[in-house]
């Protein structure tokens, strides 16, 4: 007779998360994500100044600005690649239906997957950007430790929130898609729209008219796109040049408000994803 043990909720979440991490590692996505982030962080730290014709370590604001600009493209893409098949893949394989016959709830499955995918991206982001911070702390241009640590803490925290937001967006699309190819196609289109097209439209709006109504609308539009929110948070946090967002001369949002909006995005998406999963018939 076999022993059956009643498992607490957290233990089941951990079982699912461990399996997801193992699966991702074997699929080599984790290696790819780690390689991209480390390469990105080291290039921006060591070679960032080469763009300006010098070969010295760039300033803190310059490193943060460079990392932010590239991260806006890379983090959503990494999150999508890591998690697009989380549900549609299991549904195609038949394991999602099987899993739901086990004594594990849909919320636990969602939490386990999120813990794994979020954990992988957190480790990649924290280790790579943390190494950039360490280099600046040791060889930097004299910025105080406090400045460097607070700027990088904000960068890492906001990068992780952006990663989780895109993981949840991927889950939503994965839950709504009938096949893996369609899920990844939809997500890449969404990435293209949010990361590239949205910003271009924003710029167009700013250049066309800088009146109060347009300014108000642009500020609102920033809140409606997590990638712009992320960019604004880090530019403001590190007092870095705002780039395209620098056109926001009458920038009205404070850092706490931007951070709160980011968290609201996360909570809203988590609620929505869970709801969609709970209603899904497998």
């Amino acid at each position: 007779m076999l022993t059956t043990v009643k498992r607490p909720n957290l233990q089941l979440i951990w079982v699912i998360a461990t399996k997801e991490i193992k699966d991702s590692v074997r699929n080599r996505w984790v290696m790819v994500v780690f390689a991209i982030f480390w390469l990105l962080a080291l290039c921006m730290t060591f070679a960032g100044s080469a763009v300006g014709g010098t070969l010295s370590l760039p300033s803190l604001s310059s490193v943060v600005a460079s990392l932010t600009t590239i991260s806006v493209f890379i983090i959503p893409l990494a999150a999508i690649l890591l998690s697009y098949e989380a549900f549609v893949g299991e549904e195609e394989a038949g394991t999602l239906q099987l899993l739901l016959t086990y004594p594990v709830s849909k919320s636990q499955i969602l939490a386990g997957k999120l813990l794994a995918h979020g954990g992988v991206l957190f480790t990649a982001i924290a280790s790579s950007y943390g190494s950039s911070a360490a280099i600046l702390l040791v060889f930097g241009r004299g910025e105080s430790w406090g400045e460097i640590l607070s700027a990088f803490a904000l960068l890492i925290a906001s990068s992780c929130v952006l990663a989780v937001i895109f993981i949840l967006i991927s889950y939503l699309v994965s839950l709504k898609s009938a096949e893996k190819a369609r899920a990844v196609g939809s997500l890449l289109a969404l990435w293209f729209a949010l990361v590239l097209i949205y910003d271009l439209l924003l710029l167009l709006l700013l250049v066309a008219d800088l009146g109060y109504a347009s300014q108000w609308l642009v500020n609102l539009l920033i809140l409606l796109n997590p990638t712009d929110l992320y960019r604004a948070i880090n530019m403001l946090g590190a007092s870095a040049p705002l780039g395209s967002l620098g056109l926001l001369a009458q920038y009205e949002w404070s850092l706490p408000l931007l951070l709160s909006t980011c968290v609201a995005w996360l909570v809203g998406l988590l609620y929505w994803t869970r709801r969609v999963f709970l209603k899904k018939l497998v």
């Binding site: 076999l2 079982v15 699912i16 699966d23 074997r26 016959t101």
Partner: protein, 309 residues
């Protein structure tokens, strides 16, 4: 009378306009093997999902292992083992890792995994990625997964499709062992010849409706199919025994199941034939007869609203 493992009481389920199950009732006693038969879209998957608690009936009640089953309650889920059709496990994980994962989710001790892999002849490949497993190995792994917690009810959806005869035989051999130990099994299959020797009961569904339910003998009787009786001396006896003439066709006697006993007695006592070869209609004939009846009803515009055909 043994306790009922599964009871459907006037269960109906609709997907928008489509009536997937229509007023279905049956009771499956514990320790029996039931074959779940029907054409594609007959409602078999819906029925299985209801037993598993993945779908709620729109009408009626589903009771599994003594509990009312619905998606909100998973009380019986450790007592139910399930092997879905065409499952493809996590390709990158090894057989041992896959089974350990499901064991952990079901609260089964990790120590149970290795002996189970041994029992299913997968010990030699337990550390190989599932991607490299053959179809038969994957099915055996799936079966092992289904019985991890030694369930009281086992649901197998097309367990032998695409398998070679030896692998199919292995599956049914294991299934027989389990039912002998008191486990109730429901096998959804189109491979009628394979399931026939094992089944205790069969449920035939057609367009969401119960077409037939019972033992093979009951189904044969219910279908009105004939029993074949063969003997080399029959041709000579027909001329002298007028009773046999009404049953004689193409060298054999063909009689309704209900008259089999009487005819056998007649052949033994009156004709002195003791070694008559009796062939009952098989499951495939029963199935095709039921499907044909359903088709005729449909063509006549008669709806399948109540009772069996």
């Amino acid at each position: 009378m043994s306790q009922m493992a599964v009871t459907f009481n006037q269960v109906s389920h609709y997907f928008d306009e489509l009536r997937a199950l229509n007023d279905l009732s049956f009771s499956l006693p514990g320790g029996k093997l039931m074959a779940l038969l029907g054409h594609n879209g007959a409602g078999k998957s819906t029925l299985i999902k209801m037993i598993l608690g993945l779908l709620d009936p729109c009408q009626g009640e589903v009771s599994v292992l003594g509990q009312t089953q619905n998606p909100a309650s998973k009380a019986a889920s450790t007592d139910i083992g399930y092997l879905p059709e065409n499952i493809s496990f996590y390709d990158k994980l090894t057989g041992h890792e896959v089974l350990s994962y499901f064991a952990a989710l079901k609260g089964v001790s990790a120590r149970a995994v290795a002996p189970l892999l041994e029992e299913f002849g997968l010990a030699y490949a337990q550390h190989k990625a599932v991607k490299g497993y053959s179809k038969g190995m994957k099915q055996r792994l799936g079966f092992a997964q289904a019985i991890l917690a030694r369930p009281r009810l086992l649901l197998l959806d097309e367990p032998t499709v695409g398998l070679d005869p030896q692998a199919s035989q292995f599956i049914y051999h294991k299934l027989k062992q389990l039912t002998d130990q008191g486990c109730t099994a429901i096998v959804c299959t189109h491979e009628l010849q394979l399931v026939e020797p094992q089944l205790d009961l069969a449920l035939v569904l057609g367009r969401g409706k119960r077409l037939a339910f019972g033992t093979l003998d009951e189904l044969v009787l219910n279908c009105g199919l004939g029993v074949h009786m063969a003997h080399p001396a029959l041709a000579g006896l027909v001329a002298t025994h007028p009773l046999l003439q009404s049953f004689y066709r193409d060298g054999d006697l063909i009689c309704p199941v209900s008259q089999r006993e009487v005819l056998m007695k007649y052949l033994t006592l009156e004709c002195q034939l003791f070694d008559v070869k009796v062939t009952l209609p098989d499951l495939a004939q029963v199935y095709h007869a039921k499907m044909a009846q359903m088709q005729v009803m449909s063509e006549l515009g008669l709806s399948l609203t109540s009772g069996e055909l």
